[in-house]
Symmetry: C2
Subunit: 257 residues, 2 copies
């Protein structure tokens, strides 16, 4: 059973994971960060040791969670000591096999956006697990279910699809809000005026259990109201925004058919 854990990383996800696991009575032995001060800030909150040297990582723990940027992952893995611990990474888009120099390994991907300041409740956050070894799977399932009600096994291909879908559903929607903000402030209108509409649009998606989002699509594109569509395109001064408007409108019209 997993009791002792090292965490490699001190970013948003590493921080939230460390706090949550500590709260659920797992013992975090060590926090590693390239930046010793960041490691110490986090380690202090959970009675762990801090280190900025991967070679000084204790190998004798039950689990090592590597939560660093995708680009740093290979380098971290190369520099880690040998260990019998279960070693997991937390990335949505990196294949599990990057960890195959270890005896026991897997992917532990909490599917949410994190910030250091805003403490999250892991309970409702989906955790996506991937493992090769059934024993490792049993151990990671047990730990995951301690902190979340929403744990699923999925393979690297599915995890990739989920990550890609999230780029559309979250990163790109945030960018849409950003464009809307620009359009309003250029006419001296407060972005807050949009909030009730944003709230209702999202609420329809979140409570809509059976239907495809395309069935609740509204707006000039789905009505093929070319009078308004052309008026909008002409009124957009920024060429990028014009192109986005055209492409997404075409997409919505195509989606209907």
């Amino acid at each position: 059973m997993i009791k002792t854990i090292n965490i490699i990383g001190s970013g948003n996800l590493a921080t939230q994971l460390a706090l949550t696991l500590h709260k659920h009575n797992f013992t975090i032995k060590q926090i590693y960060s390239r930046n010793k001060i960041n490691a110490e800030i986090l380690a202090e909150k959970i009675n762990a040791k801090a280190t900025d040297s991967l070679t000084k990582l204790y190998p004798n723990v039950d689990l090592i969670i590597i939560s660093v940027t995708d680009n740093a992952l290979q380098d971290v893995i190369n520099k880690m000591p040998n260990t019998n611990a279960i070693v997991v990474h937390t990335s949505g888009s990196v294949n599990m096999n990057i960890l195959n120099r270890f005896e026991n390994y897997g992917v532990f991907y909490p599917f949410q956006t994190f910030s250091k300041q805003h403490n999250v409740d892991f309970n409702s956050i989906p955790i996506l697990l991937e493992t090769k070894n059934p024993n490792v799977n049993t151990e990671l399932l047990k730990l995951s279910k301690t902190i979340s009600n929403n744990v699923t096994n999925c393979n690297s291909e599915q995890r990739g699809a989920i990550h890609l879908a999230a780029v559309f559903a979250c990163n790109f929607t945030n960018y849409m809000y950003s464009v809307a903000h620009d359009l309003l402030t250029s006419k001296n209108i407060d972005f807050n005026i949009l909030k009730p509409l944003i709230k209702e649009t999202t609420s329809k998606i979140l409570t809509n259990n059976s239907n495809h989002p395309k069935e609740i699509q509204t707006g000039p594109a789905v009505r093929e109201d070319y009078k308004i569509i052309n008026k909008h395109i002409n009124s957009l001064e920024d060429n990028n925004y014009k192109n986005i408007y055209k492409l997404l409108t075409e997409g919505i019209i195509k989606m209907k058919k």
Copy 2:
């Protein structure tokens, strides 16, 4: 003071408006719809008369609300009897002057998406007013404040900008959810897995009072993580989705600079 009202239209917004105004003790005299049955269904709920003939519209009311599709608006206006009532339309994108054959006119634009089934609480819905005549403005303000806490005067240009911003912030985001749904179901993954992330993304926007949405942008584009960006583009089979991914990624990278 406005006491008696006719409503032209029986669509989503007309329905919600009629129910709300009736609840707040305004007297709805008549509901017009091209389709008599639709007019009757709504009229019955609020003790009004139904008609499918614009020439039979009673001119002797205080307010006539025209809530039809933008394309039907001109034709409806042409066929209406002369009246001293205040006549308003409820469109986000049609100029107020379309109503200038009447004595007293304006725009009454409740800024929200509506469906017939889902009864909305008008209280928090922004109502955007435009008028030329100060007396008309006073009357419409009084009525609007009875049903909403969020009433603003704005001109046709500003209303156009708000409507355009809403296309980005609501119609296009719903389309992003639709694309995400397609990507997931093509790999046999339930769309529900995205919901906690969608909820958190929106909640950050709704509670973020001071910052531009670009300051909370996350994902591979804002990190300029070309390894993942290229992987995503290659994995998208649909050419439309590929183009959307590229264009929005470029937009996010440009927005940073």
